[in-house]
């Protein structure tokens, strides 16, 4: 039922004015910049033109078949605007206006009126106090601040955010990390639709393979848990507003020690919802869950740097992994590839003395084939000189990542990959998007922890 929030054939934008300070006109400009194909009708009180379109001053003159209204008018005028929508047969609305409960905790008649009118006409709405929807496939882009949507990258992650500003930063950061997204929904005050409604829709959405949330409150905890248990799609939540809310007059220790945050942590752990700690961490989670499932805690760590193999050994321990000894025959086979014979091989493995690809390929395959090894952490070096082996640089990026993707598939074990190289080369690997690349070695181990935590629970319910 929510499809029209993302794929409306036409939209009406209320609150538009031909004035440099007007915000609603940015909604139209953003949709244009993102190449939204549907019709856009600006509605306002005074005549004029925005983005080459004439402002409609008599809303009753609006066409009959409009799918979606985007409303940015003062809070006390939202209800009457919705009423016009209702009369015009518009059944979906994004109420961007602020000034409701987030502004005043007192009796809020504007809010009550909005709910009543929506109910009367059967209008479902997002918000209020939000920036609505960004849908990379349809080009619908309803934020009212000027954006650069041409940089948004298409993909299969969808995000639900209880903050407009965070939504926009997520759109930019995911795109800069070369992680494409399908839909971003800024949900505002959740006066009508709430996070579980959006989740239910996205769980069925063919274009969405992972669902991420930024939430400041959770309204239907049990329902969220139930949906998370039933789905095959990973759910990642960045939950803020974690200050202790435990009662000061608590009679029991349990009440005194309970906080929203602790209870949420428990709920998430039970249902395999992965908790992110920042916007960047959401991208780490997104990549982590693109890897093959990690089904145990035993890893093999290989780095082309002795230093990073030590750092990675620490990281494995910190994140609850172990790096078991490898069979002596395998170690001596690997050691035969050394050039100087000056480094002892073990796990974590300092690969700095092996300077040929045959040796690396042999080692990766033999290690992944070991029954007791559940996954691999790989920290490679890259320099454009190496690209000569592959032809062009672009070919190098693709060839290396395709090879790793294939052996990860073949052994059905995850490889957490990072590079030490100039930032622009690391970025080029990420951009090629053939296989997940983490920004640094420790981050790659953290990603495996998230992957493991997810699959531990998923296997239990499968």
């Amino acid at each position: 039922m929510m499809r029209k929030f993302f794929y409306p054939s036409s939209i009406a934008v209320f609150g538009v004015k031909d004035n440099p300070k007007n915000l609603a006109k940015n909604i139209i400009a953003n949709c244009d910049k993102m190449k939204f194909k549907g019709n856009i009708f600006p509605v306002g009180r005074s005549t004029g033109k925005v983005s080459g379109r004439t402002i409609i001053t008599d809303p009753h003159a609006l066409a009959k078949d409009i799918d979606l209204a985007v409303i940015l008018v003062p809070a006390d005028m939202v209800a009457e605007t919705l009423e016009i929508c209702g009369q015009k047969g518009i059944r979906y609305a994004i109420v961007s206006s602020g000034g409701f409960r987030e502004f005043s905790k007192n009796e809020n008649t504007a809010e009550k009126n909005v709910v009543a009118i929506a109910k009367q006409y059967g209008i479902r709405f997002i918000g209020p106090n939000c920036i609505g929807v960004i849908c990379t496939n349809s080009g619908l882009c309803t934020p009212f601040s000027p954006l650069q949507p041409k940089n948004f990258k298409k993909g299969n992650v969808s995000l639900v955010c209880q903050s407009g500003g965070v939504s926009i930063q997520i759109a930019y950061h995911f795109s800069e990390e070369h992680l494409g997204f399908s839909k971003i929904i800024s949900i505002g005050n959740k006066l009508d639709l709430d996070e579980t409604d959006y989740l239910s829709y996205l769980l069925e959405d063919q274009e969405t393979s992972q669902i991420h949330f930024y939430l400041e409150s959770i309204d239907h905890g049990r329902k969220l848990m139930q949906l998370a248990r039933e789905t095959e799609k990973p759910i990642i939540v960045y939950k803020s507003n974690i200050g202790s809310t435990s009662s000061e007059v608590a009679r029991s220790h349990t009440a005194a020690l309970s906080s929203d945050d602790r209870i949420i942590n428990g709920a998430f752990r039970q249902t395999g919802i992965i908790r992110a700690e920042s916007i960047h961490d959401m991208t780490v989670c997104a990549k982590a869950l693109q890897l093959k499932p990690l089904t145990g805690d035993q890893l093999v760590v290989i780095s082309l740097s002795g230093g990073f193999s030590v750092i990675l050994g620490d990281a494995c321990e910190n994140y609850g992994f172990s790096c078991p000894q490898l069979p002596p025959e395998l170690i001596s086979d690997i050691e035969s590839f050394r050039r100087g014979g000056v480094i002892q091989m073990s796990n974590p493995m300092d690969f700095g003395d092996v300077h040929n690809y045959e040796g690396l390929i042999f080692t990766l395959e033999k290690c992944l084939a070991l029954d007791f090894i559940d996954g691999m952490v790989l920290s490679l070096m890259y320099d454009p000189d190496m690209a000569r082996l592959f032809g062009t640089e672009d070919e190098a990026y693709n060839t290396i990542l395709e090879f790793l993707s294939k052996i990860s598939q073949r052994f059905n074990k995850p490889i957490a990959l990072s590079f030490f190289a100039e930032r622009r080369y690391i970025d080029a690997f990420k951009k090629s998007n053939v296989f997940p690349v983490f920004n640094d070695p420790v981050e790659s181990v953290r990603a495996l922890r998230k992957n493991r935590d997810y699959w531990k629970v998923k296997k239990k319910y499968s």
Binding site: R251, S252, S258, R262, N265, G266, A267, Q270
Partner: protein, 224 residues
């Protein structure tokens, strides 16, 4: 449950320790053996029945944190001591209705806490962590949403920072995780089956011969 309904009918929203443990025992949670007494004769009968050493406590729902009110005498080994403790505690309880509780002294060095809270968004949630006087100091507790199963309970034991307390440390036997997980599962079950229970606190759970026993407990009912 009768105990809960009785309290509500008397307009009481906090059960006494004695009542709370009856509720726990009904769900198969091991509790310390105890007898409520109101006279010296009853005290002596109780002491003989339970056997030394005993603990003697004031038992009234008004005293939520009994140790702070100096209403607990532990490790009582002689009749004279028991009588003195009984009168002393009775004297400290003037003006309240509760009796005095004679309890078997559970010997054990490790104290854990478990409990339940009915969260407004997630419903009944089970707590587990480090108990006794360290509860507030270390703040080392984790929650799971009820109902919980054995693997949830085992996960809780793995998640606390002080999880090594459950191992065979310093010559102590390892904690029977099976038994402890059963205890946590039952707490969740109490929360699921008794809508009127708002909070449960079991603190401490003393580990004795590897098994957890509820030594003190309280239950708070929903005050509508």
């Amino acid at each position: 449950m009768n105990i809960l309904n009785k309290a509500l009918s008397e307009n009481r929203f906090v059960l006494t320790e004695y009542e709370a443990k009856k509720v726990l025992a009904e769900y198969g949670i091991p509790v310390s053996k105890e007898i409520l007494v109101d006279s010296e004769t009853a005290l002596m009968d109780a002491v003989r029945n339970i056997g030394f050493p005993v603990v003697i406590k004031g038992c009234d729902p008004k005293f939520v944190h009994k140790s702070e009110k100096d209403l607990i005498r532990t490790d009582i080994r002689y009749e004279k001591e028991a009588i003195a403790a009984f009168h002393d505690i009775q004297a400290r309880m003037t003006g309240v209705s509760g009796g005095v509780l004679v309890q078997e002294m559970i010997m054990g060095k490790r104290e854990l806490v478990a409990g339940l809270i009915r969260d407004s968004q997630f419903g009944p949630s089970v707590m587990f962590g480090i108990g006794g006087i360290f509860t507030e100091i270390f703040n080392d507790v984790v929650f799971r949403i009820a109902p919980i199963d054995k693997s949830d309970a085992l996960g809780m034991m793995e998640e606390i920072r002080g999880k090594r307390i459950l191992e065979a440390v310093r010559g102590l036997e390892p904690v029977d995780r099976e038994q402890l997980s059963n205890l946590l599962v039952r707490i969740g079950q109490i929360g699921m089956e008794n809508e009127m229970i708002q909070e449960i606190d079991i603190n401490p759970i003393i580990i004795s011969k590897g098994r957890g026993i509820a030594v003190d407990a309280m239950i708070v009912l929903k005050s509508l």
